[in-house]
Amino acid sequence: MNQLGWRLISRDAWRSVLAMAGIATAVLIVFVEMGFMNGILDSQLRIVEAVRGDLVVLDKRRLHLDKWDGLLPIHLSQIAVVPGVAAVMPLYQAGMNLRNGPDRPDRRVVVLAFSPDDPPLELGWSRAALDSLREPERVLFDRKSRPIYGELAVGQALWLEGRRVRLGGYVSLGPTVIIDGVMVSSESTLKSINPGVRPIMAVVRVAPGADIERVKRAILGRAGEDIDVFRPGELADREITYLRRTAPIGLLFGAGMAAGLFVGLVICYQVLYVAIRRRIQAYATLKAMGFGNAFVIGVILHQAVLYAAGGFLIGLLAAFLLYQELALRTGLAIFLTAPRIGAIALACLLASVVAGLAAARQVIHCDPAELY
């Protein structure tokens, strides 16, 4: 690659930095849109990722995890006797008012409940915290919950739906867009507060050596048409599909990302267009001298890619800092991964090539004969 493209950019440093800052802003928009989209998806999937089992049984009406249609107790009994099922661990879920002190306001919290002897989830608790759930009216608090609940210290009294409970420790899960915070209790504690609560999910552990797919089919055959059975990965896929297509988070944030990319493309095009316009006679001279269109297009694409690379790196740095702040403030799982960075880098590169080719048209069409 010739050095002309690099020199045209590096020796026009101030203009180039401004151009890259413009492209970086567009890149940042794309990163933020993608960050929110993936943050919503990843946060929603935390509960699925916490499942300790081979299969998850849900009521059929529960088309996504924010619907709270529960299973009938009979389903648990039916599943338990299916050949190949080693254990059925029901998970209960209820929305409740939490008060952190007598003079504090009520805050809505989601309470997850299960048997502490065989938890269906792994929520990053200490052994002591899990053991404390065996005592009546003990709860654990998700320390990643949004800060609206205030400081909660182990051993302090709390009020769930007006019932006094005591904090036995912490778990680590994190909020979603809809759920601000999570508490964990034993099944018996929850039922003592809300006797009518139904299991929202049953986690099934398959016996060693049993074929998971066969057990899955057997559960569906035994428990009738009211339920759905998934492997955890399948449930995650269903949830992502629902959120992306039906919710439609994918469309909303996808449109935002596309808009960001388009803005970046337009900025890149505009910067190149002006730079080429300013030097059009020098480019025409190149053509007159015997440099072909491929060479001058290469010079312009080189500049486009350099602008895009500079803008991308600045945008990536800004996104990294912004993601940390957003994750802290929203509690959502907003983070960068290599594939996500790579996807945006590739999109940025393609946009820069399109912008470069569009801007190069004026050089392709310029007539070196006009120099005379």
Binding site: N2, L4, Q281, A282, G290
Partner: protein, 232 residues
């Protein structure tokens, strides 16, 4: 490809019955009509004539910057009638162009401009050439202390001298110059003309230079005068 018929008589430009018009149909405006002349290796020819007489059009046709319409035109042994765009691009690599304005890239130093131009003929040059040749040429035009300065810090005359060196560094067999000294100080003008004369006398290059300055006529082997698109 252009049919190559390198003439044994060292003819660099051969044109006969050459005509050219802008526009078409009722709006056709003839610019050149029945032009015919030859220029051989080692000839310095000045093309003169009033504004609008067709000088620039003729030079751009010879330089392969415009497509031939009527007549015969052979440049450096290549017949330009029906030549493809790619063939014209290749032909232009063998021609040194000097325009009225320098049209240098503002981001390239004179040395880098020479390197860029040498890239057109990279098959001829080794590593050492890239070190020595630009220095030799830039010294020749009096810019030995300004080789690594960006054009923005050079005077108009110095920039034009760089453009002259750019046209000559690959030692083309044909040089087409359009009033290269029109806006130059006497020193730069003298250096430019010296370089062109040297190319003719030492290498046998052919030079076709547009000029309105009658003082240059003495330098030329011949003066062609165009009036209303015809040689007189």
């Amino acid at each position: 490809m252009i049919p190559m018929t390198v003439a044994a008589d060292q003819t660099r430009i051969h044109c006969s019955h050459l005509s050219y018009a802008y526009g078409s149909g009722a709006e056709e405006q003839p610019v050149l009509s029945g032009i015919g002349f030859d220029i051989s290796a080692g000839e310095f020819v000045i093309l003169t004539g009033p504004s609008g007489s067709g000088k620039s059009t003729l030079v751009t046709l010879i330089g392969g910057l415009r497509r031939l319409q009527r007549g015969q035109l052979r440049v450096l042994g290549s017949d330009l009638a029906g030549a493809s765009e790619a063939a014209l691009v290749l032909l232009r690599r063998d021609i040194g162009f000097i325009f009225q304005d320098h049209h240098l890239f503002d981001a390239l130093t004179p040395r880098e401009t020479m390197h860029l131009t040498m890239g057109l003929r990279r098959e001829r040059y080794g590593k050492q050439d890239y070190l020595e040749r630009p220095e030799r040429w830039l010294t020749r035009i009096g810019l030995q202390r300004r080789m690594d300065v960006l054009p923005g810090k050079l005077s108009t005359g110095q920039r034009q001298r760089v453009a002259v060196a750019r046209a000559l560094i690959n030692e083309p067999d044909l040089i087409l110059a359009d009033e290269p000294t029109a806006s130059l100080d006497p020193e730069s003008a003298a250096i430019t003309l010296d370089c062109l004369r040297e190319a003719v006398s030492q290498r046998g290059a052919a030079v076709l230079m547009i000029s309105h300055d009658s003082r240059h006529y003495a330098l030329a082997d011949r003066v062609l005068t165009l009036v209303d698109g015809k040689l007189v």
